[in-house]
Symmetry: C2
DNA sequence: TATTGTTATACTCTATAACTATA
DNA sequence: TATAGTTATAGAGTATAACAATA
C-alpha cells in the first residue's frame, strides 16, 4: 500500500485564519472566535470518529450500534424501551427499529414486551452481546487513550468543562427558540 | 405539532459519570478523563451538526456541500482540483465526484480541465453558487453565534486552543502508527 | 386521541473495487 | 508505473409518512 504513507492527514491548510476572515468579514454577523471554535470542534470530532469507526469496523459494529450496546450494558440488565434509545442516540424511532433489528439478528440484544404497558418493548443486551463488548473494550480504551495522550488529565478536564458549557449554551438557545415559535426547531425523534 | 415541545433535547442522563465508571472500572485501560472528554466532544458535535444541518436543509444543501462551496468561495476564483477537495473534506475521491456532480447539476459549481496536467479537473464556484452562499451566510453566522452565546470570546478561544492540541495529539499518534506498521492506519482518501 | 413501535421509501454519506485517461 | 478522475455497487444513516396495537 504505497498510499498509506502518502495520505495527508492534516487538512487544516484549507482552513487558514487569514483566508477565512478575508472572505467572511463582509458579513456583519461573522464572528471569528465562533467560527474558529466550530471548525476546531468539527475537525477534532471527524478525526476521532473516523478512527473509532475503524476500530469498531473490525467487529462489524457501527458507532451507533456500539453506543447502544454500551448504554444497555450500563443499565445492568434492566434494558431500555426503544423510544428512550432514540433519545439517547439522537435517532428517530423508525431508525431505532432498524438498528435493534440488526443487532437482534446477530443475537447481541433481545426485545422483551413490557409487562405493564404492552405497547412498549424493552431492549436488553444478551450474554453474547456482553461477551462481544468485553472483547472490544480493553483494546478500545487503550487505543483511545493513546490517541489523546498529549493532553494532561487537567487539560482533558478543562476541555470537558468547556464542552459542557457549550452544550448548555446550545440546549438553552434551542429551548428558547422552541418556546418562542410553535413551529419551533426540533432535534431528534422527529417521527 | 404537540411533539415539538415534548422532545427532550438533553440526552445526558443516559451518560452519568457514576454509571459509566461503575461499568468500566473493571478494564485496566479505562481512564475517566479520556472517556468524559470523548462523550462531551461527540455530544457537542452532534448538537451543532444537527442544528446546522437543519439550517442548510432550507437551501437543500448537505453539510459537505456547504463546506465545499465555502472552501471554493475562499479560494477567490482559483478553485480546487477534485483530489484536494477530498483531502479538505476527509472524503474519498469517488465520493467527491458524486458531490461535485450534484452541485454541478444545480449550476452552483463548474469543472474546468487543468491546462498543464490534463488529468486534473479544477472545480470552481459559479456566480450562482456565490449568490446562494451570500443568501445563506448572514443568517447562518447570526444563528450559529446565538447558539454559543453563553461562552465568552475568551472561553471560545481557550476551547479552540485545547481542541487544536487535541487534533495535534491525534494526528501525531496516527502518524506514529502508520510509520510503525506497513499495513498502518489510514484516514480518508482510501480509494 | 395520543403513544409505541413497525413498515416502507427515498435520499445522503461512506467504502471499495474496477475502470479510463493521462503523466 | 503512478496519479486523477469516473463508474458501479453495497452498506449505513437519516427523514418522513402511513399503519397496527395499545393506552
Amino acid at each position: 500500500m504505497s498510499q498509506t504513507s502518502q495520505v495527508r492527514l492534516d487538512k487544516r491548510k484549507y482552513y487558514s485564519r487569514d483566508q477565512i476572515i478575508r472572505h467572511a468579514q463582509k458579513y456583519p454577523t461573522f464572528h471569528w472566535p465562533t467560527t474558529e471554535l466550530l471548525l476546531n470542534l468539527v475537525y477534532a470530532y471527524d478525526l476521532i470518529a473516523t478512527y473509532i469507526a475503524r476500530i469498531l469496523n473490525r467487529y462489524h459494529l457501527s458507532l451507533s450500534a456500539f453506543n447502544l450496546l454500551i448504554i444497555l450494558a450500563r443499565s445492568e440488565g434492566k434494558g431500555l424501551p426503544l423510544h428512550e434509545i432514540g433519545e439517547a442516540l439522537l435517532v428517530s424511532r423508525a431508525n431505532v427499529t432498524g438498528l435493534v433489528d440488526c443487532l437482534e439478528r446477530r443475537g447481541l440484544v433481545e426485545r422483551v414486551v413490557h409487562t405493564e404497558d404492552r405497547r412498549v418493548r424493552i431492549v436488553r443486551i444478551t450474554k453474547s452481546g456482553e461477551e462481544l463488548l468485553e472483547s472490544i473494550l480493553p483494546g478500545y480504551h487503550g487505543e483511545v487513550r493513546e490517541l489523546v495522550n498529549e493532553l494532561s488529565d487537567e487539560e482533558k478536564a478543562q476541555l470537558s468543562r468547556l464542552l459542557l458549557k457549550l452544550q448548555d449554551s446550545i440546549l438553552h438557545t434551542l429551548e428558547k427558540k422552541s418556546r418562542k415559535r410553535e413551529d419551533g426547531f426540533m432535534i431528534g425523534n422527529g417521527g
